[in-house]
């Protein structure tokens, strides 16, 4: 049985305590998507501003547990300022790391801080927490036609 230290890495707790890119963006020009975790009732909003094929800005609202909040915080860092194609690559790579089915060939993507969330895979019930922000990001990208 994996210990709690596999789950609650220091970097995760750091993002949880000091979340990056919290808040909202004006819609339009931004789009917003809403995500639910039906198990625990967490709700999250991902605001996304895409311009000229680049993720100009992204912000996260709502509430959640340490895993969902830190994952959201790291997600914003990983995609902000990136070309849309790169954001999609990170999204796919992260989902693969979480053990989810993703179409296409795996690519070599450096996930940086996000690697800390690897430990979540050992706690299957928490995978939904870790992926909530990402599923919601994917919806927002859809919405933005990106």
């Amino acid at each position: 049985m994996p210990g709690l230290e596999d789950l609650y890495r220091e970097i995760i707790l750091d993002h949880y305590r000091t979340p990056r890119n919290r808040g909202a963006l004006e819609t339009p020009p931004a789009v917003v998507a809403q995500g639910h975790n039906p198990l625990c009732g967490d709700e999250i909003q991902v605001y996304l501003l895409v311009e000229d094929g680049v993720v100009r800005d992204v912000k996260v609202g709502g509430q959640g547990c340490s895993i969902s909040q830190s994952s959201a915080s790291m997600m914003t860092q990983a995609v902000k300022g990136k070309p849309v194609a790169d954001a999609h690559r990170v999204l796919d790579a992260f989902r693969r790391m979480m053990g989810l089915d993703v179409d296409g060939e795996p690519e070599d993507v450096n996930l940086g801080d996000l690697e800390a969330l690897q430990g979540v895979v050992k706690f299957p019930v928490r995978i939904k927490c870790a992926t909530l922000a990402w599923t919601t990001l994917a919806q927002a990208m859809d919405e933005a036609g990106a």
Binding site: C40, G41, G64
Partner: protein, 410 residues
């Protein structure tokens, strides 16, 4: 305490299980209860010896199986002090029981001019079915609000009841632990010309229940919350109400005749038991009820009151303002279900840490999202106690909360 907690613990095989070398501290009984060997064995024995289809075949084995099934109905009838066995309808769970009331009674009796009264502490099972029918019929849904300590605020009850045809409410909140004043509510409903539907899911497993004393028109509850198997729930109602209602699900057993151009419904209880019923599960439910009765419902309630007082004091003494326990303090109006906020740590994280020492609690919205919004939180941590819990389980909870502080105390 009046009941022998150690003996009772011994009846539940799963409580002997060790995970990671540590014993199980099961505090999620408001969600679903564990099963004693008496129930497990009754079901297995029935399948090994007496199983056969019911209501249809006439050989002796089928008659024996039928007797077992109907005996479970009689046991249930006595358990809730219903007047007639056929007022007890077996459904698949309490949710189906409430849907049955809404779809059958509701569809026949509600129109756009009418109103239905619910409360802010209802479980989704007593909200969503009404909203589904509302989308079709257009009646109004009103809500009894809550006081700050999580009881029903009855100040405006009479006004709220004007024009109401059905008042449907829980006898005990699955989040707050609040026990509602059932008789007062059913009386108020009747005075206003409404029927009273009681969601007994959280009440019936923990209290002696008497449908006449409650003054209820309908009562719904689930087997799996009172040590019985999944796959079976109970709807009780007055014979006259059930007789007047149209059928709910159609199929075998619920008919007295079927022609190419239509059908006639069967008598009660068959009328509301379409298809092959939960035969094995009824046997398990009967065994569960007899098991609870052998302990005594009054003793169960007393044990839970004692344990709740112990746990409340322990948690408040140990954690002071760091813990916020929802619901009333007065033990007379609360059950052994403790929802709390602990140092602002998200319930998912709390339950994760508690799980390290096998303290099993539920973290989430508890199928009561409207209530959570009113409480101003998306989720709570909930520890709920039952007959197989004792003070050592409350101690384990408190100890485990300490380690949550270690990780998240910031």
């Amino acid at each position: 305490m009046g009941l022998h907690a150690a003996t009772i613990k011994g009846d539940f095989p799963i409580l002997d299980r060790m995970i990671d070398g540590k014993r199980l501290v099961f505090l999620d009984s408001a969600n679903s209860t564990q099963k004693p060997r008496q129930v497990i064995e009754a079901m297995a024995e029935f399948m090994r010896n007496s199983y056969a289809p019911v209501n249809r075949s006439s050989y002796r084995l089928a008659a024996e199986s039928n007797d077992c099934y109907e005996r479970a109905r009689a046991v249930t009838q006595r358990f809730i002090n219903a007047r007639k066995p056929h007022e007890v309808i077996f459904t698949k769970n309490a949710t189906e029981a409430l849907n049955l009331v809404v779809q059958s009674w509701g569809r026949a009796n509600l129109s756009s001019e009418d109103a239905v009264l619910l409360t802010h502490m209802e479980h989704h099972a007593n909200i969503v079915p009404w909203q589904m029918l509302q989308a079709e019929k257009g009646f109004a849904i009103r809500w009894v609000p809550l006081t700050t300590d999580g009881q029903l605020d009855l100040t405006d009850l009479d006004r709220l009841l004007v024009g109401v045809k059905a008042f449907s409410f829980t006898a005990m909140s699955n989040v707050l632990g609040t026990i509602t004043p059932v008789r007062r509510l059913t009386d108020a409903a009747h005075a206003a010309g409404a029927i009273a539907i009681v969601d007994g899911c959280q009440y019936v497993p923990h209290h002696a229940t008497d449908v006449s004393a409650m003054g209820a028109d309908f009562l719904a509850f689930s087997s799996h919350k009172l040590c019985g198997p999944t796959g079976i729930g109970v709807l009780w109602a007055h014979e006259a109400l059930l007789d007047a209602m149209p059928p709910f699900l159609g199929g075998g057993n619920m008919i007295s005749d079927v022609r190419l151009d239509g059908f006639d419904t069967a008598e009660l209880p068959a009328k509301f038991e379409a298809g092959t019923p939960p035969i094995i599960e009824a046997v398990g439910l009967g065994a569960a009820i007899e098991y609870l009765e052998s302990i005594g419902m009054a003793e169960i309630r007393q044990h839970e009151m004692d344990l709740t007082v112990y746990a409340l004091n322990l948690l408040k003494d140990r954690f002071g303002d760091d813990i916020h326990i929802y619901g009333p303090d007065n033990i007379e109006v609360r059950g052994a279900t403790l929802s709390f906020d602990f140092r602002g740590i998200h319930p998912h994280d709390v339950s994760q840490v508690l799980d390290q020492t096998n303290v099993c609690v539920r973290a989430g919205h508890h199928c009561a999202k409207p209530l959570m919004r009113i409480l101003g939180t998306p989720a709570t941590t909930r520890a709920s106690f039952y007959i197989y819990n004792d003070e050592s389980d409350a101690d384990a909870l408190a100890d485990a909360l300490d380690s949550a502080t270690d990780i998240f105390g910031f």
